[in-house]
């Protein structure tokens, strides 16, 4: 039996090489914290009195350790600092982020899983506690770094091996590694193994991330009824496990029950209203369900909460304005759009969002001239725009063309959207809604069918070439198709696959491998849970390590 020895932190913990940022609105507390840190030999030590200042400092140079108070008074909260830091890449897996709170608060466990701090410290605490915590976190980050590296390379098999090696040693952060192992199994598409893994873990206690992992496994494996049962069971036991609401709504959407999905999200925001992404999601669901009353409330909350959040976007405003039109209050919609202009003064995409929606609202107000003017301005922005526009913005633009009488341009644009997203059910629903709203339901159905057949035909011809063993021709064919449809996940996935099949027969080369990576990254960007993606990454990693051996 090990006996506890009195640790001496000054000697054990040396933070000389670490860059540290302290964020608290209380000068007094910042000073105390800085004194503690100096006693651990911290030299590079900055502090910030509010969230904006913290973000500015994080942008200017990366910190190794960030200690941030949860409650920062006016402006951004500590949670929003964490979210923005991660969102902008100022905080990555090697950064230690500790949230300091005055108490054990419910809001702490309410946020999305990917925006959790490494740990919490509850005020007040003595120097020894801080030192102990930092020491533990440095150890944790060190034993995770190899796994994180294989994950960044999408090498799931290697990451799993590393997890298993660590688990055998039962380190103090065992739970964290087990959690990671489950997530990697899901990323790898090993659903059977993942289900067994989570079932085994559940025998040890009702840990919510384990139950959620088990539910996610069922969801990803397409066992929707089972996933629904699991998520409902979690919420029955503890109605504060917020991610369970998100996954339950996703499951219900897969089961084609958008009404039920909306109700789930309504329950979620009634328990935890301060969650901008959830409010946004609820707004979108309700809008699609044509429940404009609920949509308006949710979008209003989204706009209000976006004030200090990196998750604010112009579409929060335009969605609210569109909803107000449906609520027979287009004037209020114009006011919302005017405030969007002030919030995003320099952003071209935002300008486009606003102009497109303004044109729509003017048209509803029978201000035809203003509507045309706004549309023309929008068109001008599109012409000068560099890069590809987000699909929802393109769809808004198409609707505005149609209601301004330019059916041809509108439906041509919709065809383009459909070509990139021919099997995205959510997008298809949104397109159908636009067609319904503009009185083009029948025509729209035909357009959707046409495009889907076109893509299936295009894809099948390429697949046939590959099946007939004409791999070189298949590559040329798919590369051309991918050039035309740079965002279509199936075309990109198949392009990557034929390239890899070719290399498996003829040996790998750098140039083709880097092309494959580009195609796979496009698929990942379009749909992280694309069903063939794990298999494709495994092929890719096989080719890379094969190359190493000769």
């Amino acid at each position: 039996m090990a006996i506890y020895k009195k640790p001496n932190f000054q000697r054990e913990l040396n933070l000389k090489s670490k860059k540290v940022l302290v964020v608290d609105d209380f000068l007094n507390f910042r000073l105390t914290l800085k004194n503690m840190l100096r006693s651990f030999d911290v030299i590079h030590l900055d502090d910030a009195g509010n969230g904006d200042d913290a973000i500015r400092k994080m942008a200017a140079g990366k910190y190794d350790i960030i200690l941030c108070d949860y409650n920062l008074g006016e402006g951004k909260s500590g949670q929003q600092v964490l979210e923005e830091g991660k969102f902008r890449g100022y905080i990555n897996y090697s950064t230690i982020f500790v949230m300091i709170t005055a108490e054990n608060s419910l809001e702490m466990i309410m946020g999305a899983a990917e925006y959790q701090p490494d740990d919490y410290l509850i005020k007040p605490f003595a120097k020894e506690i801080l030192g102990n915590k930092i020491k533990q976190l440095i150890e944790r980050k060190e034993n995770l770094s190899a796994i994180e590296k294989s994950l960044a390379a999408e090498n799931f098999s290697e990451a799993l091996q590393l997890c298993d090696l660590l688990i055998k040693k039962s380190p103090r952060n065992l739970s964290e590694i087990l959690k990671m192992k489950g997530e990697i199994l899901l990323k790898k598409g090993a659903y059977k193994e993942a289900a067994e893994f989570y079932n085994r873990m559940l025998l040890m206690g009702n840990v919510s991330w384990v139950m959620i992992g088990r539910g996610k496994t069922a969801l990803l494996a397409g066992q929707y009824a089972e996933a629904k049962d699991i998520f409902e069971h979690i919420l029955e036991k503890n109605d504060k496990v917020m991610p369970a609401y998100d996954y339950l709504a996703q499951t219900l959407l897969k089961m084609n029950d958008p009404q039920a999905a909306q109700e789930v999200m309504m329950n979620a925001v009634s328990i935890s209203p301060r969650a901008i992404l959830r409010q946004k999601n609820l707004g979108n669901l309700a809008y699609r369900n044509e429940d404009y009353f609920t949509a308006e409330t949710a979008y209003k909350a989204t706009v209000a909460q976006g004030k200090h959040s990196c998750f604010k976007s112009p579409s929060d405003y335009t969605s609210l304005a569109k909803t107000m039109v449906q609520m027979d209050n287009p004037e209020a919609g114009l006011d919302v759009l005017a405030s969007a202009r002030q919030v995003f003064p320099e952003d071209n995409e935002a300008k486009l969002h606003v102009r497109v929606t303004e044109s729509y609202v003017y048209k509803k107000l029978n201000r035809t001239e203003d509507a045309v003017k706004a549309l023309n301005e929008a068109q001008k922005i599109v012409e000068d725009y560099d890069g590809s526009l987000p699909a929802d913005l393109q769809l808004d633009l198409a609707r505005t063309y149609i209601i301004n009488g330019d059916d041809k341009k509108g439906s041509e644009l919709i065809r383009r959207i459909l070509r990139d997203n021919h099997d995205d059910n959510e997008m298809l629903d949104n397109v159908r809604l636009v067609f319904r709203e503009t009185g083009m339901a029948d025509e729209g159905r035909k357009i959707i069918e046409d495009v889907r057949e076109e893509i299936f035909g295009l894809n099948n011809a390429g697949v046939k070439l590959a099946q007939d063993g004409k791999l070189a021709e298949a590559i040329a064919y798919f590369e051309e198709a991918a050039l035309q449809l740079p965002q279509n996940k199936i075309i990109n996935a198949n392009t990557a696959q034929v390239l890899m099949l070719y290399m498996q027969e003829n040996g790998s080369d750098e140039e083709r491998l880097s092309d494959v990576k580009i195609y796979l990254d496009r698929v990942k960007k379009a749909d992280e849970n694309f069903k063939d993606l794990p298999l494709l990454w495994t092929m890719y990693n096989g080719l890379i390590s094969g190359g190493d051996h000769g």
């Binding site: 039996m1 090990a2 006996i3 506890y4 009195k6 640790p7 209380f26 007094n28 507390f29 105390t32 004194n35 006693s39 005055a102 108490e103 054990n104 608060s105 419910l106 702490m108 466990i109 919490y120 509850i122 005020k123 007040p124 605490f125 003595a126 120097k127 020894e128 506690i129 102990n132 533990q136 039962s170 103090r172 952060n173 065992l174 739970s175 087990l178 040890m204 206690g205 009702n206 840990v207 919510s208 991330w209 503890n238 504060k240």
Partner: protein, 230 residues
């Protein structure tokens, strides 16, 4: 006229505010202590006593606020697997300086391969309270141990002091079915036991609930506090 506020809400927000002031007080005192520790200042022991009382107050506030939140269904309850050794060491580090200053030593007896599923913050709140009290009631040694028995994880805190008064002895048979009404009239300690019982019983696994026991004797022939988690 303004709407009438719920009195428990007023109490809670006042407590919250007071707890923040207490936090500042605690930190100022920390600065003073770290300054005078090096200089072998004779007042140092007095400052430690102050710190002990501040911690006591702070623990009372945490308990009260937790009970208030539980009442309002606002209590955060977050079960995860934890290294028991790490949790016990964290608890020891909290109180080490204070107890050492009075010549009290903390001993931890626990295998580093022991892991269990529970809410870390709530359990830490229970342990903090018991260990802090050792400042007043223990002579020279506190023993914190953890082991498994009958499918429960036991966390035990023993001291070499005079033991608990008979009015505080609780659940001496270590029987999970045993329930004793809390009598607040017997003294200020009722709330501590109430909180510990609540936290223990929130932990349920396979139809079994957690519980506590308070007895005298043990390895150090003093007070023995045990927390059983399913």
């Amino acid at each position: 006229m303004a709407d009438k506020m719920d009195f428990s809400d007023i109490l809670a927000s006042t407590l919250h505010d007071t707890k923040n002031s207490l936090g500042l007080l605690f930190n100022n005192l920390e600065d003073i202590i770290s300054g005078c520790r090096g200089q072998k200042c004779p007042a140092c022991m007095e400052f430690y006593k102050l710190q002990y009382e501040i911690k006591r107050l702070n623990h009372s506030f945490i308990r009260l606020l937790s009970l208030y939140k539980a009442e309002k269904s606002q209590l955060a309850f977050n079960i995860d697997y934890h290294s028991i050794r790490e949790v016990l060491e964290d608890a020891a580090v909290q109180h080490e300086a204070l107890l050492n200053a009075k010549g009290i030593e903390i001993e931890i007896n626990c295998s580093s391969s022991l892991f269990w599923a529970f809410d870390r913050n709530l359990i830490a709140g229970v342990l903090d309270n018991i260990i802090n009290n050792c400042f007043r009631y223990t002579k020279e040694k506190v023993r914190i141990s953890s082991f498994m028995t009958n499918g429960y994880l036991v966390i035990r805190i023993e001291d070499d002091g005079p033991g608990y008064p008979s009015s505080m002895l609780f659940n001496e048979d270590s029987n999970p079915q045993f329930e004793k009404g809390i009598d607040f009239r017997t003294g200020s300690t009722g709330l501590g036991i109430y909180f510990s019982v609540m936290v223990a019983s929130l932990h349920v696994n396979n139809g079994r609930s957690g519980f506590i026991s308070i007895t005298n004797g043990g390895q150090l022939n003093g007070g023995v506090f045990s927390l059983y988690l399913p």
